[in-house]
Symmetry: C2
Subunit: 218 residues, 2 copies
Amino acid sequence: MITLTEENYIKAIYHLGKYGVDNVSTNSIAKEMETKASSVTDMVKKLSDKGYANYKKYQGVTLTEEGKEIAINIVRKHRLWEVFLVEKLNFSWDEVHEVAEQLEHIKSKKLISQLDAFLEFPTHDPHGDPIPDKTGKINKIDKILLSETIIGDQCICVGVQDSSSDFLKYLDKNKIALGTELVVSHREPFDNSITIKIKNKELIISNMIANNLFVKVS
Amino acid sequence: MITLTEENYIKAIYHLGKYGVDNVSTNSIAKEMETKASSVTDMVKKLSDKGYANYKKYQGVTLTEEGKEIAINIVRKHRLWEVFLVEKLNFSWDEVHEVAEQLEHIKSKKLISQLDAFLEFPTHDPHGDPIPDKTGKINKIDKILLSETIIGDQCICVGVQDSSSDFLKYLDKNKIALGTELVVSHREPFDNSITIKIKNKELIISNMIANNLFVKVS
DNA sequence: ATATATTTTTAGATTAATCTAAAAATATAT
DNA sequence: ATATATTTTTAGATTAATCTAAAAATATAT
């Protein structure tokens, strides 16, 4: 049996290891899990003993295939529940994370396959992140950060990097949602802020915001 | 903060104390929780310290008002989730218990109030048990056990005492569901079995079955 | 290349929940 | 009313997850 805590560590290692091929460091896990490095060392040994992680002292950690499967299944559950909360229970996209963090640990294959069908097999969650299918396949789309666009790019918003409530509320306030179309009209060299046009209305966006919004250039 | 284990003990004490006014015994809790009496003693002290239970050594335990509120809220969540599983995710009534046991611990007021609305404020769960409203009020209907009926009673099935999979599957097999109308036509003194008529078809029912099916006499 | 800083691990303690075995209290039988 | 049986509690140990403080290993700076 896998404990709740083990699941959370596996998930953290998965998210930290997603980019780059490097091993995940003890400290980065400790930060992500809001715990101490010594606790991470203990747990990482345990995950290694159980076959979920590859670990060599002082060398950091990666997930085994089995560990990766578990992580992807948790991500799948998390994102399906987020869709449920937004589509069926009228949650807004900045309210779903905490609840999904709890729901993602419910153990029942039938529950998830039925939920998936009930939601009509969604491919992306409310933040634009892809939902792994039941075999673990993740359908990545070629999105880039708004900060990486060039002047004149015609874009459509497809996701957010950060899904904190503050950021999402900022987007709501400025009428930016997934699917919103925009054109990049100016970049200010001094602070890297970007001017975008949405339906011919101009909006100035800080570099920090642009670094957290994914778009697809058409 | 209240832990998962504490919630489960509170729920067990609530269910055991529901009938009769007696204090709930250490042993009965141990049986219900599938644990040892010594573990129960420890936990019951803790619940008492936290103000959820009244406990005097060797005298058994009752819930405080606060404990009762917590218990009723768990029951509410459990039953709402059961309705969700059956109505929306096509679970059958014998499959919902284990999953609802997990879902009942999810903490989010908004989740439950929205779920309640999404299900259109159901009053009973798939086993006929009443769903407490958000203030904790439980709408009891005057049901009796089929074993308590007398010959000639015209009844409608309104609930089950036992919601084990085996029992529910027996009912399915014999086309007995909540809402099914039946007439009590004979009682066999030797084994207390009962003959009932459903749509003029006769069916002989053991005393054990009759002891687990609630009906309303019309 | 070595000193210094940073990261990681180890050792030993703590808390929550559990257990076994024995002791204490209560209930039951005659 | 007392012996016996049953129930409950206590004492002390165990496991999972965590912590602090110190030691060990690795990385960085000059």
